[in-house]
């Protein structure tokens, strides 16, 4: 075989030699194609595996950790939450609408394949600056695609997060997280076992779309990527809605041994992974696969990534029942093979053998790379920069207005109003809260959901930045009154073959792992997306964290705005932030540098516990974490109906107003309960600062008794709310 063949499919020469060894013969083209997708980074995690092993994955609440289609955590009452996050970055860069839409479709299938009814979607998005037309095109298309799919299938898109940074120009990040609910007895697995059991494909027909999508996701983007548009799949939310209802019906009827989504690498990966988990073999007859195009080769059928298909192994004798359920929903089901006990993936076309590969060669024997890591030159250099003597650029008021108009900080309403965030009528805290909250019907409980990652922190210090992403998620969960339970992650990085990138990956994962350990939120699964580079330049390392929390009693939900006059405003945590890595520094000084503040995870945990304990006593009126833009921006976010007057004392106005440091939460409480709060904080040894009180229609900040900021809500709310809309509507 010409080396060109396997190289074009993304295999290295060493990997090809390994295939020769494993098979003991030369593979045919179909077999090379199967190896190429199964050994792609996307399917095999060959580079990330050794690092991911270090994540904490266990806890009493974890019913299913990594390795299945999605993770599962127990929420009591025989109920469990199923959740996972996945990237669809490369397809979205090439075809934003379909790329994002199929990202949603894919992650939803991962949820209902576990037997859970999806109840929410969140989207973590990263784009280049909206000053560039192409980024506006990408944002517009991605948002329309997420809405187009989620709205139609009828799963609410309840939250997520969005940042804008130049490192994402040309390589946007589209990470979709889906969450489902199930009863314990309905947990389904992606497994093929029981010799002779039939293997069926259900749902959509197979076409030529998305061939080598998994491989495509594992290479850097370039000018030529546009020409690979055929590798982007096309989604059909209507079909998926029908498929979802049919699958849930089959699982409820206990008709299946196993079920798996046909996502990346299509029939190949679903068959191989199911057989792998069941220690079985699988035999497929391709002439039985329902197709929507004629003349498809075995290669095309095996590698098609046509959407809205599932592979199921029914219990023997129940094929007819599967077919009937699918037909009632207007869909097809076809037996295309059977489970065997020889551990081989055997592919036939009209009875003729066209591929035969040991399943383990594709899974367990996939190469694992221990990539070299090297600290990048920028790291120490940027870390050595100090901004203690920096002076406020302009007046506090000018800076304040500039920051709240920054799309990363500003309201994301332009985006979320395009998503149906209420269908299902379970959404209690709508987009715009610190975390979304959904009620669990039939109980007093609710679940809180969020996605977070400040990639500038990760770039400046991958270890701390990784930990901070988890910290921010946990704080957001706690700020609505929920206890953090577990996370899923979506690890977006550049090309891991570069030692500097791999170092970022290794460090960030170590930070995530440590924070998860201390905060008691195990990793239940996730996804790795490497090669996020455009013409050689990598994105900022972005280990996106999706977290789930539990509220035992929905009457204890906390909002993040002041709801009356005279609420006493306090800050839990230090008054002063740092300028290192801050939004202020980036926007006003055009610098992204500095040493991040020290992080004491135990202390963060104590503060979160303290907050939750206060909330249990029912004395808190609101809570909001202080993140990008510092204290002044956090206060602006809380003053929607009522303004506030706060008094700050000390030195360095700039760092106090706009400095950043995680682990800080603003809370409000009635004047009557304030002494109780102060006493509790003192007892617990938690730093607590009285800031001022709510009321009026301005945000007024006194610094050492002198007014430094006094802006009417009517001035800054519109700037905050319209920042993204204004940019999207302006013509360059």
């Amino acid at each position: 075989m010409e080396p060109r063949v396997w190289r074009e499919m993304g295999l290295t020469d060493e990997e090809y030699n390994r295939i020769l060894e494993l098979l003991g013969r030369e593979p045919n083209i179909l077999e090379v194609g199967i190896f190429a997708v199964m050994w792609s980074e996307h399917c095999s995690y060959k580079t990330s595996k050794p690092i991911l092993k270090k994540f904490p994955t266990e806890g009493p609440q974890v019913l299913q950790g990594p390795g299945e289609n999605a993770g599962i955590v127990d929420i009591g009452d025989n109920l469990a939450v199923v959740f996972k996050m996945e990237s669809h970055n490369h397809p979205s860069a090439i075809e934003p609408y379909q790329g994002a839409a199929t990202g949603v479709g894919g992650i939803l299938r991962d949820i209902f394949t576990m037997g859970a009814r999806p109840i929410a979607v969140l989207d973590a998005l990263r784009f280049g600056p909206l000053e560039e037309e192409h980024n506006k095109y990408l944002l517009s298309g991605v948002v329309a695609g997420i809405g187009g799919y989620g709205n139609s299938i009828g799963i609410p898109t309840v939250g997520g997060d969005v940042y804008f940074h130049k490192s994402y120009s040309g390589n946007p990040l589209v990470n979709a997280m889906a969450v489902g609910l199930l009863r314990h007895e309905n947990i389904a697995k992606g497994v093929a076992k029981g010799e002779g059991n039939p293997v069926m494909v259900i749902g959509a027909r197979t076409g030529r779309d998305g061939i080598h999508g998994a491989t495509f996701a594992s290479v850097e983007l370039s000018e030529e990527s546009e020409a690979k548009r055929s590798a982007v799949q096309v989604g059909d939310p209507f079909m998926e809605k029908l498929l979802m209802e049919a699958c849930l019906e089959l699982i409820e009827a206990d008709a299946l041994v196993g079920i798996q989504d046909m996502g990346a690498a299509g029939l190949t990966s679903s068959a191989v992974e199911m057989a792998g988990r069941g220690n079985s073999g699988i035999e497929l007859e391709l002439s039985l696969v329902p197709r929507r195009e004629t003349g498809m080769t075995p290669y095309e059928i095996m590698l098609s990534e046509s959407q809205e298909r599932m592979l199921v192994v029914p219990k023997a004798g129940r094929e007819k029942e599967v077919e009937e359920v699918l037909n009632r929903w207007g869909l097809e089901a076809a037996v295309i093979g059977r489970v065997t006990n020889d551990g081989l993936l055997r592919v036939l076309e009209d009875g003729k053998l066209v591929a035969e590969i040991p399943v383990k060669a594709l899974t367990e024997e996939a190469p694992v790379y221990y990539r070299p890591a090297a600290e990048p030159a920028y790291y120490q250099e940027l870390k050595s920069k100090c901004f203690d003597s920096l002076e406020l650029k302009g007046t506090a008021e000018e800076v304040f207005l500039a920051l709240i108009s920054n799309p990363t900080i500003a309201s994301k309403e332009w985006i979320y109003r395009q998503y149906d965030h209420q269908v299902g009528t379970n959404t209690v805290v709508l987009p715009g809260g610190d975390a979304a909250v959904l009620r669990i019907r039939g109980t007093k409980k609710g679940i809180a959901l969020t996605t977070d990652c400040n990639s500038r922190y990760v770039y400046l210090d991958p270890y701390l930045g990784g930990a901070l992403a988890v910290v921010e998620a946990a704080q957001n969960i706690a700020c609505v009154g929920a206890k953090p339970l577990a996370i899923t992650d979506c690890l977006n990085f550049g090309n891991p073959e570069k030692p500097e990138i791999f170092w970022q990956f290794e460090q960030a994962c170590a930070g995530v792992a440590e924070a998860c350990r201390v905060l008691g939120t195990p990793v239940t699964g996730g996804n790795v997306s490497f090669y996020n580079e455009t013409s050689g330049a990598a994105i900022y390392p972005t280990p996106m964290i999706g977290m789930v929390g539990l509220i035992e009693d929905l009457s204890q939900i906390l909002g993040n705005t002041f709801r009356s006059e005279g609420e006493q405003i306090y800050l839990l945590g230090e008054l002063e932030g740092e300028l290192s890595g801050s939004e202020y520094l980036a926007q006003l000084e055009n610098m992204e540098a500095g040493k991040l503040p020290e992080l004491d995870l135990q202390e963060i945990k104590r503060r979160i516990d303290f907050l939750l304990e206060l909330n249990k006593q029912g004395i808190l009126l609101s809570a909001h974490d202080v993140s990008e833009g510092g204290l002044a921006v956090a206060l602006a976010e809380m003053t929607v109906k009522y303004g506030a007057t706060v008094n700050i004392k000390g030195s360095n106005q700039l760092k106090k107003l706009f400095g950043e440091r995680l682990g800080r939460i603003i809370i409000s409480i009635s004047a009557q309960n304030a002494p109780k709060l102060e006493a509790s904080a003192k007892d617990a040894g938690i730093p607590l600062v009285h800031l001022g009180e709510s009321g009026g229609n301005t945000l007024k900040v006194m610094f050492n008794e002198t007014c430094c900021l006094n802006v009417p809500l009517a001035t800054y709310r519109p700037l905050f709310e319209q920042a993204i809309a204004n940019r999207m509507n302006s013509k360059a």
Partner: protein
């Protein structure tokens, strides 16, 4: 009360409507679109969603579902029919209500809380509201821009067929209060006889405080009241 909620393939507010009626103490039945009779029901709900994916035109294929023939007969005999969002689109497609729903003026899908003014409280659907009352009911649609010709509009106005208008928080039916470009700020209408109502906003989403308010409850209460009065 015997309430039937039609389930088209792609309906996605069917269960929401069912749950909302349960909050009111009723137990509706789901009616699969391939059934052919709505005999015995007191109210038929056509719920929101994307019937048949809304691929050709919203509601354009659902109107050909087997069940729709009997829904039309039921409506013509005076039975109560309530179309919400996609249900409204289906009602205009099948001719039970005049006009049509175009893409939102801003071309984007909009999900947002929305103020409405009750323009006719004499109906089986609205008798628990005050005339002119301003209520908040969320909208969630890409194609809710109601349009109708001049004569048709005049007929709606003259006959009191406009049930809800989009308004500002202060109750003004101005351009500022109009989220999607609907003609005359129309958010919901009834047929001449007053037994078939179509509306874009989602009252079934606002029947419990925990999920955003109870302004929609009035419609459910009105229907129950009207039905009880008739028996």
């Amino acid at each position: 009360m015997k309430i039937g909620i039609v389930r088209f393939p792609g309906s996605n507010c069917d269960i929401d409507c069912l749950e909302a009626w349960r909050v009111m103490g009723e137990e509706p039945k789901l009616i699969w679109h391939q059934e052919t009779s709505v005999q015995g029901f007191d109210l038929i709900v056509l719920p929101g969603g994307f019937s048949y994916g809304d691929y050709l035109r919203t509601g354009a294929i659902a109107r050909f579902s087997p069940i729709m023939n009997d829904v039309i007969r039921f409506a013509k005999e005076g039975g109560l029919v309530w179309g919400i969002c996609n249900g409204f689109q289906i009602l205009t497609e099948c001719g039970l209500l005049p006009g049509a729903l175009l893409r939102n003026a801003g071309l984007h899908f909009i999900c947002s809380p929305q103020y409405l003014r009750v323009e006719n409280n004499k109906l089986a659907f609205t008798n628990c509201y005050e005339q002119g009352q301003v209520i908040q009911i969320p909208i969630s649609h890409g194609e809710g821009n109601y349009t109708i010709d001049d004569d048709g509009l005049k007929a709606l106005q003259d006959n009191g067929q406009i049930v809800f208008r989009y308004v500002t928080p202060e109750g003004e039916a101005s351009a500022e209060g109009n989220p999607n470009g609907s003609r005359d700020n129309i958010a919901g209408i009834v047929n001449k006889k007053g037994n078939v109502l179509g509306m874009m906003p989602h009252p079934e989403r606002v029947v419990e405080e925990i999920t955003g308010g109870v302004d929609g409850k009035g419609m459910f209460l009105s229907i129950l009241k009207a039905w009880e009065g008739r028996v």
